[in-house]
Symmetry: C2
Subunit: 353 residues, 2 copies
Amino acid sequence: MTTELIAELKIAAGKVDKAIAESTFPDAVSPVYLADAMRRYPANGGKRLRPAIMLWSAAAAGGDMDKILPAAAALEIFHNWTLVHDDIIDDDDLRRGNPTAHIVLSQALELPEQRRRKFGSDMAILAGDLMQGWAFELLDQTCCTAEVRLKLASELRCYGYLKLVSGEAEDVEMSCCDPADITVEAVRNMLLGKTGALLHFAARGGWLAGKDSVDQWDSVHARALGEFGDSLALAFQLQDDYLGIFGDVEKFGKPIGSDLQEGKATLLLLHALKNLPAAAAEELRGLLYCHEYTSCDIARARELFSAAGSVKYLQREICRLTDESCKALNTLPDSKYKTLLLELANYLITREK
Amino acid sequence: MTTELIAELKIAAGKVDKAIAESTFPDAVSPVYLADAMRRYPANGGKRLRPAIMLWSAAAAGGDMDKILPAAAALEIFHNWTLVHDDIIDDDDLRRGNPTAHIVLSQALELPEQRRRKFGSDMAILAGDLMQGWAFELLDQTCCTAEVRLKLASELRCYGYLKLVSGEAEDVEMSCCDPADITVEAVRNMLLGKTGALLHFAARGGWLAGKDSVDQWDSVHARALGEFGDSLALAFQLQDDYLGIFGDVEKFGKPIGSDLQEGKATLLLLHALKNLPAAAAEELRGLLYCHEYTSCDIARARELFSAAGSVKYLQREICRLTDESCKALNTLPDSKYKTLLLELANYLITREK
């Protein structure tokens, strides 16, 4: 990651955090612990990739980033409500090293132990709902014409609801299936929705807002930025799958092997199951859904993935997708912000966390 | 209920149902059972009070109801997502005599018995989320200026999220408290949010849309319509509390006594606990949270509520609130639709279901 990229990411994150912190929407929420829950995830770090892409895309279009800031903040809040509901669905207790929303909310009242978890999950459903309202309230504060604000909201409903939530539902469905029954195509579609939709919207919507003209949504540049977001999302997700098995637990922040434990239908796993000899594939299947993983188990899984050629396949795919995302930006006029978007894409394949 | 009121309610319901059925938003959702779940509640009957109020309020403002139809449909979808999430939170298996969303969705895949309930609830969270996007997409199709559409959306976020969801959360919180610790004021506030917010928005937003002018939201007439919605909601809810104990199970559609079983802090219960002699209050408390209710239990509870004067108190309150809601409409110019709104208010106190 270049020094400039780091510096610009920090600037974008700082501005977005400030815009979120200054938004008064949650102040009217009662009980107060619910308002606190709404603010907790966005204040809890994270890469702020989506708002940064939106701001840089707007700037690449010649727009004033400060005018687009509410839209970037909206995108971060939108992303975070999906995490709140996701964490309920996945029954996760930790997010970025901190207790998830439903765990924090389970402690809000003095309740008997057996009622806490349900209370926390009920309140977290409502916190996620409230954050949806908050996201669109922020979006509406973007300094654009009324028509562009309506267009941004409508496209966020298309990408943030129809595509993203459908992807999330497909992911839940896949978690109930045998990975052997899932196609590469189905996984790609799911990822394009679950991870790709908001990156697509960030890049393309940023251009729309920067130009402040409704028909720019369908311009060649905006479409190219959408494709940039799609490819970036897939590359990002494949890198995540790689780090989930081959990463360094200290840097990655999630336990290595949790994808195996969940039997997650990653492209890495699908490739290995398909390309390993029957006995080895069976051995790999035996390493799914285990209660615990020793370092020997992880080492053996790594060997099997390597033997299947799946690591090389994944790395080739990540490079190809990163190339694709960079090529999509070719048509854009040169600018500092185009360069930042290119650097971001290249950073994502070298990241270790 | 007058013949005209019945006929006009039917017309409004028919138009709203058609607008919802023709909306293509859910068609892009995957998996298909999730799209089906989005359509199930709105197609499942209900009184359609909110859209009717919105349409009549718009017509009372001189607006064309057909132009406002998408907003009325949006309101019905918004109301229904809150029911989907509510039913998860309350762990209810039935809604209007049919299986709730999470129960239907639990059957979508062939899953082992112990995984079904969680899968159904996870998918129902997502169905409710998608319906939020759907509601605002419909709202945006209202035939109004861009500014009025933005204003409608912003006020729906204020009333539908901040007030309604806060009220829902307060209700969840109250269900964890001893009714003796809850004040009448807290219950009224909760009800004004949970039930009042959307009726307020329906009446006031209808006027705004009918006039198609942003500053009409704060006009004397729009404010009066908001107050009409507030009082109507409280009267409606008190009548619901009454029917929950004194209703006819055949007509009411919900088991009589379920409020007692949940220990629900209704104004009826709070009044009785406060006004009964200590021994009788203790006996009534003994009738809360029971596993089953015999007809003797219900009869005894009814006696205690009557002895406390709580039934008279409730009926007085319902009449007072209905009067208040009708008085709020005084300032409105006379019209067929003003009369329908008045008749609706008077119907709600005589209803048996």
